[in-house]
């Protein structure tokens, strides 16, 4: 086993680990906002680390994987943000929230589903 492969496997394992952690978060955390923290971030870390590992084991795909990673970095927070915003506008309750600065603002028009 070459060194690249070992490091790659480690990174790969890290990625799988963080993915799993994120999924556990999705199950365990109490409300949608906190779950978004888990999924949006950990999946990102998990996948990026997984990509890095793969890049080491499959050098010819490195460029592609970098592009993919950049792209995930660009889109992941957007998705998280959009879901959170949607949830908030739908009036999804915040479990155990201690503070809400946004609630002070005028009600947004709440809508369907």
């Amino acid at each position: 086993m070459v060194i690249g492969e070992v490091v790659g496997l480690i990174l790969l394992g890290t990625g799988v680990f963080f993915s799993a952690v994120g999924i556990i978060g999705i199950i365990r955390l109490p409300d949608v906002y906190t779950r978004i923290h888990a999924s949006g971030k950990v999946s990102t870390l998990g996948i990026i680390s997984l990509l890095a590992g793969t890049a080491l084991m499959m050098p010819e795909a490195t460029l592609k994987l970098i592009v993919l990673a950049l792209f995930l970095l660009t889109t992941a927070p957007v998705a998280s943000h959009a879901i959170a915003a949607a949830a908030y506008r739908q009036g999804v309750p915040r479990a155990g929230a201690v503070r809400d600065d946004l609630a002070a603002r005028a009600e947004r028009p709440a809508t369907t589903e």
């Binding site: 660009t74 889109t75 927070p77 943000h81 959009a82 915003a85 506008r89 947004r108 369907t112 589903e113």
Partner: protein, 964 residues
């Protein structure tokens, strides 16, 4: 050949008369046509010597030999006898008809129909081929239909016409089968050949069927009981037509056919039983019913039925004993009944009524017509020396040996005498009771016979001379033929039946039985006539006749129709359920007949990690699909479905089928976006209504649905199992594709090679389907917004827009004019700004490297479309359209398709096959293979890109999107 003009001339004139009648006065037309028919009559007479020598003349043209149909004509004595009747009566009717109508505009049509009828009828009697005969036969039915409903605004006329057509047409169908069977059995359709095959036919197993079918056809046409009832109904026809068709000629077509086929099919127990029984029954019933009729034409119709019965019975007598009497009867009946019809028409014309109760004493006003009536009526009654007397004599002679038949004939003759006397006396004799028309200029063919009291008693419409002369001519002929029976009639009848007969006015060897019976019938008839006041007042119950059966059948058939139509209940669920159940039934039948072998190998469990993955993904797909069913809310169901779709994509990936997986992911995404858009489009209230009904269905309904789906699922599952297990090895086709992709079309991605080249046609059509579907969505939903419509060359938008009108009614839900979204914050906008160019680059990569990697023009198009969708979501519709001014979905589809077709057609120009792989050699940049395929990929991409954005836009913004 020399008799062919006799048939052709009427048809030619029928075509010519309609334009000609615009210029000619009706009476001139009548005279002219009468003259023509008289000439044809003479022509036929002139044929007689030839026929006498040769027995028959014939002519034939091969027409449709494949179905045994030749245009073959055949004229022997029998034909000529009928043809003489047709042309002779026809001449008188034409003459008469020229004066019958006052509305000159109708005359041309009427004459055309009469002429067409004449031609068809002549063709019937001169047909030399069973099918030729049938064609002419059907033509007469059709013309009769048109003539009966000549006055289309009269409901009775329409009903009568239809009834006549149904009965004779139905009989015609039986006849057709009978003729076809006969032709098949004998191996020929030619009459002349059939004559020689009579033994073959009579002993053929099909004989019974043939005879019954042909008899049914003949009986229907010749108004035999119980199919007789259409004939009285047909009296709504203009009187000249009734005289011609429904008494003298068309109704005799059946008789003709029986006479014609009698040498071929006749003289069997069946024939000799059915014909006399039906004929005599008809004869008696007709005469009896005629007595109590009030309508003059009704009276004549029933006496005609009676007479037709007599003719049929005569033809059915064993050993052709009655054929002579039949021929004489045909001639005599044609003369006196034709005359009587014309007389009735004249009376109707003059008085405006045909009700015998309203008539009387007309002899003072119309002495000539009265005289004619006396002659014709007495001939009908069978008074010597008129032709009718001779006919009755021969009839009695023919049945003299059969006591029962003789009794029926005598009884019928008695009744007929009474009817004849009624016709003479109750119209012309006695007190004047005629109610006369008040208005001079009423339409004469539209009588309102009963119940209208607005009559003037002082004036009688004067009759034009020929309206008396025409029946006079026929009546006169009755007299002349009676007196000169030996010289005039004998030769024709002899010729017709092919052997010399003797006819006489008075029995040569003194008074015989027939003569006595004839005179007795006269006397008895006179007695019945004298006591008419008594029996006319009797209230006799009506017999249930054919008409009731007909009405009952029609209403029953209609009821069945209504029941059947109830199955078309309008609810799609039930339609689908019925279809699926049928398929389940058929498929299970097929599968149970198949023995499915389950090799042990396939039962073996999990083999590798990939298998575990596949199981997980399958489970995921199934669970998510199940969730999409169980989740009531549409949004949730859509999301569950999305998960299922992605899982399926994963399965594709494991197969491994990366190209399919890619498309699956893209399409799944697009489908999810689309369904969300639909949710936004449809009102929530509507959807909630539909949702609550989902599980609000009855338990039975749900059980039924579950049953259907489970059985179908099981069937398909078994099917799939069997399919999977019968994979052929080795598969030469797939191997060929794998082998040839790189060398032949230069692609590494074999799937791409198949899509663009090996099976390029599928792809070409598939994107056409996609493009068309998108255009459809666009057309259904879009409404034009002037000034926004795409234009290749500058052209102002016209103000009148068809689509605008069409959609006006749909536009009941107004769109919000200004919509400010809070969604488009900088975060999403930044992402959108980055993703779309990225998406386009990915799309371009797919496009240019389609042959080397997953993805192709199609995925490029979907990716582009999804990128645009992202902009729509983030920036909103208006803003996106403002930024992407080149985004005209409709034209993009058009250009895309055009490019795709250009790729397909270009190779043709270079002398290669349509859609052939045409590489452009000597060009290579960055491993991009330049071939005509690139054009194809671009075309696909544009079509799909345009299609995706068209669908998205049109569903989401139907009011604003440009139509095309």
């Amino acid at each position: 050949m020399e008799f062919v003009p006799v048939i052709v001339v009427p048809f030619v004139l029928a075509l010519a008369i309609v334009p000609a009648s615009q210029r000619l006065r009706p009476e001139h037309q009548g005279w002219g046509l009468a003259a023509v028919l008289a000439i044809l009559f003479g022509w036929l007479l002139a044929l007689l010597p030839t026929i006498g020598e040769q027995g028959a003349v014939s002519a034939a043209i091969s027409w449709m030999p494949q179905i045994g149909l030749n245009l073959s004509l055949y004229a022997d004595g029998l034909s000529v006898l009928f043809a003489l009747v047709i042309t002779g009566i026809g001449a008188a009717v034409m003459l008469y008809a020229g004066y019958y109508f006052e509305d000159a505009r109708q005359v041309g049509r009427f004459f055309a129909l009469l002429l067409a009828f004449t031609g068809s009828m002549l063709a019937v009697v001169m047909a030399g081929n069973l099918l030729t005969l049938f064609i002419a036969w059907e033509l007469t039915s059709i013309v009769s239909f048109l003539l009966i409903s000549f006055k289309g605004s009269d409901a009775d006329a329409r009903a009568g016409a239809l009834q006549a057509l149904i009965i004779t047409g139905g009989g015609g169908l039986a006849l057709l089968v009978g003729l076809l069977l006969a032709g098949t059995a004998a191996g020929t359709m030619e009459l002349s050949d059939l004559l020689a095959k009579s033994d073959v036919l009579r002993s053929h197993p099909w004989y019974g069927a043939i005879a019954v079918l042909i008899l049914a056809g003949s009986f229907s046409k010749s108004a035999q009981f119980p199919l007789h009832f259409w004939l009285p109904g047909a009296m709504a026809a203009p009187t000249p037509a009734s005289a011609f068709l429904h008494s003298a000629t068309m109704v005799k077509a059946g008789v003709y056919l029986l006479a014609r086929l009698s040498p071929i099919l006749g003289d069997t127990p069946l024939w000799n039983t059915v014909l006399p029984v039906v004929g005599l029954l008809t004869m008696l019933i007709g005469a009896a019913v005629a007595l109590r009729q009030r309508d003059l034409k009704g009276i004549l119709a029933y006496t005609t039925i009676s007479q037709l019965g007599a003719l049929v019975a005569l033809i059915g007598l064993p050993e052709a004993a009655g054929i002579k009497a039949a021929m004489v009867g045909i001639l005599a009946h044609a003369l006196y009944k034709g005359a009587l019809f014309l007389i009735v028409g004249a009376v109707d014309h003059a008085t405006g009524t045909r009700n015998i109760d309203e008539l009387g004493g007309l002899w003072r006003k119309m002495p000539a017509l009265a005289g004619v009536t006396v002659v014709a009526g007495l001939s009908m009654a069978g008074v010597p020396p008129l032709f009718g007397f001779v006919a009755k004599e021969t009839l009695l002679e023919a049945v003299i040996a059969e006591p029962l038949a003789l009794a029926v004939v005598v009884l019928s003759a008695t009744l007929t005498v009474a009817v004849a006397f009624r016709l003479i006396w109750d119209i012309f004799g006695g007190k004047s009771r005629a109610r006369l028309p008040q208005e001079e200029h009423r339409e004469h063919d539209s009588h309102h016979p009963y119940g209208d009291d607005a009559y003037d008693y002082s004036h009688i419409h004067t009759l034009p001379g020929p309206m008396t002369a025409a029946p006079g001519l026929l009546a006169g002929l009755s007299l002349i033929a009676g007196i000169g029976i030996g010289a005039l009639v004998t030769p024709v009848v002899s010729l017709a039946i092919g052997k010399t007969v003797s006819l006489y006015l008075l029995p040569p060897d003194g008074i015989n039985q027939a003569f006595v019976l004839s005179i007795a019938a006269l006397a008895a008839g006179a007695a019945i006539f004298a006591t008419r006041r008594v029996w006319l007042s009797w209230n006799l119950p009506g017999l249930p006749g054919g008409e009731q059966i007909y009405q009952y059948l029609v209403s029953r058939v209609e009821q069945i129709g209504d029941v059947l139509l109830r199955s078309q209940g309008g609810k799609i669920r039930y339609y689908l359920a019925a279809i699926l159940l049928t398929v389940v039934a058929l498929l299970s039948t097929a599968i149970t007949r198949t023995t499915i072998i389950y090799p042990a190998e396939m039962m073996a469990g999990v083999a590798s990690a990939a298998d575990i993955l596949e199981i997980v993904l399958l489970v995921l797909a199934l669970v998510a699909t199940l969730a999409s069913i169980l989740l009531e809310r549409h949004l949730l169901a859509a999301m569950a479905l999305g998960v299922a779709g992605y899982s399926i994509g994963g399965i594709f990936l494991l197969e491994p089928a990366p190209d399919v997986a890619l498309v699956q992911f893209l399409i799944e995404t697009l489908a999810t976006v689309l369904i969300i858009i639909i949710l936004a489009r449809t009102s929530e209230e509507e959807r909630r209504r539909a949702i609550t009904r989902l599980w609000g269905q009855t338990n039975t309904g749900l059980k039924r649905d579950v049953l259907i789906s489970v059985t179908l699922g099981v069937a398909v599952g078994f099917f799939a199992l069997a399919a999977v297990n019968s994979r052929p090895t080795p598969n030469t086709i797939a191997a060929w594709h794998l082998e040839n992709a790189l060398p032949q079309v230069g692609v590494k991605d074999v799937v791409a090679g198949i899509i663009t080249d090996f099976r390029g046609t599928d792809t070409l059509i598939e994107i056409t389907v996609f493009g068309m579907a998108a255009l459809g969505v666009l057309t259904m939903l879009a409404r034009p917004n002037p000034g926004k419509t795409w234009s290749l060359f500058r052209r102002p938008e016209t103000s009148e827009s068809p689509i605008k009108d069409a959609l006006q009614e749909d536009a009941e839900r107004p769109e919000p004019v200004v919509y400010r979204s809070h969604f488009a914050d900088p975060v999403t906008q930044l992402a959108a700004g980055l993703v779309l160019p990225f998406a386009m680059l990915i799309g371009l990569a797919h496009l240019l490297y389609a042959g080397a990697a997953p993805g192709d023009g199609f995925t490029a198009g979907v990716i582009g479309g999804l990128g645009v969708a992202l902009w729509f979501v983030v920036y909103g519709y208006e803003e996106t359209k403002r930024r992407l001014r080149w985004l005209h979905p409709g034209p993009l589809i058009g250009i895309g398709l055009t490019l795709a077709f250009a790729n397909a057609i270009l190779p043709l120009i270079f002398g290669r096959e349509f859609l052939a792989f045409t590489p452009i050699d000597g060009f290579s940049l960055a491993d991009i293979k330049l071939a005509s395929t690139v054009l194809f990929e671009v075309g696909i991409c544009l079509t799909v890109f345009g299609g995706v954005s068209a669908i998205l836009e049109a569903i989401s913004h139907p009011m604003e999107v440009e139509p095309l």
